[in-house]
Symmetry: C2
Subunit: 140 residues, 2 copies
């Protein structure tokens, strides 16, 4: 089990937008060729990022821009823009209410797991796009 491509793709896109700002027009086709996925995937992802207020997309001209400086955008922002706000784990919906374990499992395990998820989000909130950009050399 693992998360889908979505968050990594979104991060990749935003890094490209930041990196090529003013140099290339970052259209969905251009971004798609860097990530190596279909341009439609890029457009959908850009749509989610736009809805979250992280990017602006030039509707007809083409190209996208970040709305904030890379050091002000965290992986948490990106994660929440493209992933559902749901529990990390799926606990069986209808455990047996006649069993003491069954009728308490949601409360007992769920509370711990949501704590783990919030720690994960905390981790994400401490990683900015600028951190990642620093690690990407301009040329080989």
């Amino acid at each position: 089990m693992q998360f889908s491509f979505r968050m990594p793709v979104a991060v990749h896109i935003m890094l490209c937008i930041a990196k090529f700002d003013g140099v290339f027009k970052t259209t969905s086709t251009f971004l798609a060729s860097s990530v190596n996925v279909n341009p439609v995937i890029i457009r959908k992802t850009l749509g989610q990022l736009k809805a979250a207020g992280l990017v602006e997309v030039a509707a007809v001209v083409g190209g996208a821009k970040l709305t904030k400086a890379p050091q002000d955008i965290t992986l948490q922002d990106v994660f929440q823009a493209v992933e559902e706000d749901e529990d990390l784990f799926h606990i069986q919906d209808n455990p047996n209410p006649q069993c003491p374990v069954g009728r308490n499992i949601h409360r007992v395990l769920g509370s711990r797991l949501s704590m783990v998820k919030s720690h994960m989000l905390d981790d994400f909130s401490r990683i900015t796009l600028a951190d990642l950009l620093e690690d990407i050399p301009d040329n080989e």
Copy 2:
């Protein structure tokens, strides 16, 4: 996106085994009725837990027992018993090597994400079955 039932089911099973030790014979059918899934799911999960050395299953007689005390079994043990050891996120396999972002994304993003995953495992390692059992009353 979220993880499957597997880990929560495994935890549920182990809590039942601990709770009903010496009271009921914890067969796969018995456990299945508490979790409310098919007994085959329970047997597969028990097989994984057995392979990880966390439980012993009485092959013919029926029933399972923990191999360690509940305070010595952590959610990390259970998680690793039932989940693949893989990255938390899936980064596109073939990004464009001609793009500076494309040829560095795995290293730059992957290292951060594996750190996040190891923090998650640390969290799991601090939660024991005994912690959960304490929160489950015997009767309503």
